[in-house]
Symmetry: C2
Subunit: 269 residues, 2 copies
């Protein structure tokens, strides 16, 4: 169930260990890591030491535990700021949220997973760090399917077999065949639906963010509950969504010019 990247070379190994530590979601002892590690004791030990001296991990002398280091938070700040979509999308997400009163997501693909980069919720104030950075499955979420549908064939074929196809609800799409059919539908309609695929009672409509050259850059979605609304009503928002998506794409394009020096802060509404 864990993400496995083709880790080659020294940095790949180091990162796989880092991922492993991250997957515990709490500080871990050396042995905890060793038990599920493919690396022999001495090797793992040195990798962990390296990660600590690099600041990617911290070592708590008192408890003898390793935890992720704050250096990552700093890098992520830069990543979020310069990952083309998130900063330029902000005002558009806010606008969508205010216009619809529903939850808005911005996501990109991280390997085979959906990675949420921003979220708006008209009701509750949300703390972004506990929301952005979260990962979810691609094959059974609105944003995930919208993105998969607009991936170049080659990449799609690499990613499809990596989906878990776990059945979360009765409506979950549980096979690559079914998913391929659904993706074709999505391509034709221009938007994707989440019919309680992932969570019972949670429905959503999503559209891809496509560049001028129709490259898939991410996706945005409007999420609600089947108690409050219906797929039919959600579909009414598709034009707004598509409009926002193309605005975001345009802004991102502009933003990408290497000689464009504006900082994202300045693009606030």
């Amino acid at each position: 169930m864990e993400t496995e990247r083709k880790s080659s070379g020294t940095v790949g190994k180091a990162l796989s260990v880092l991922d492993q530590v991250a997957s515990f979601e709490r500080p871990v002892r050396f042995n905890d890591v060793l038990e599920e590690s493919p690396f022999p004791k001495a090797t793992l030990y040195r990798i962990l030491q390296n990660l600590v001296t690099e600041g990617l991990l911290t070592f708590d002398r008192e408890w003898q535990t390793y935890a992720l280091g704050v250096r990552l938070v700093r890098l992520a700040h830069s990543a979020w700021t310069q990952s083309s979509l998130a900063p330029v999308a902000r005002p558009h997400l806010t606008a969508l949220s205010e216009a619809t009163g529903e939850t808005i997501h911005l996501a990109q693909l991280d390997g085979p997973h959906v990675l949420y980069l921003d979220k708006r919720d008209a009701k509750r104030r949300v703390n972004m760090f506990s929301e952005a950075g979260k990962v979810g499955p691609a094959y059974c979420t609105g944003v995930g399917k919208a993105m998969l549908a607009h991936l170049p064939e080659g990449e799609l074929q690499r990613i499809l077999p990596q989906q878990s196809y776990h059945r979360f609800t009765p409506a979950t799409i549980c096979s690559q065949q079914e998913l391929t059919v659904e993706l074709e539908q999505i391509r034709q309609h221009g938007f994707a639906l989440d019919r309680e695929d992932h969570e019972p009672g949670i429905i959503c409509v999503a559209v891809p963010v496509l560049s001028r050259t129709r490259q898939m850059m991410g996706a945005i979605s409007i999420t609600s509950t089947s108690a409050r609304t219906s797929l039919g009503k959600l579909k009414k928002f598709v034009p707004d969504l598509q409009n926002a998506a193309s605005e975001i794409a345009k802004a991102a394009e502009y933003w990408r010019f290497p000689d464009n020096q504006r900082t994202p802060e300045k693009m606030e509404i």
Copy 2:
């Protein structure tokens, strides 16, 4: 002015390149990086390629540019969640913010810099990823001085010479000597003041978060403007701050038990 870590080994080199790309704050061409890189062309090329295949960088085929990859955001989510302070501090920061109506910061040290991990502002809704992850100088901010003052002597001596001692305002402390005196004061009073050291008009009072064993884990602060309030009035909040700090420390301590499986989400107020 850029952070230079003792980068040893292969991962160190890779990370130094990653930092360099991050420092541009925009997508960069190969040559942009090469120009300020200590590495020869071929080496740099391979390092960049590695980083791309590892997902730490993305390569835009159309523009031929490198940018930070979203994998970092995902790792940072885990880092933020499991870095002992941030998740447990959340409710306390919110409470402080509501009680005082002022801006609240939570910070930890990242090498010689201050790294902000959370922020509350009673007035404006903030997006965390554009705030948390930011770095600032240690020698001329409230949280920075509070943390330095409670560092073990050895570490302090390593970090003090790494400060830039740049004069931001007339009130900035610009030498290691002056700073050492100030730190001693802070140790005695138990709190640190920012007397417009860093930005004109911005004042702040900060206290360290100390563990049971008096290990320095971070700092929290209340920030305001000299127009709205005064250092004298800010000092009145010191007991509240210290109380919050010790609550946070206690919660963090508890949270660190490796067999404590509660997720930070559950600790929401």
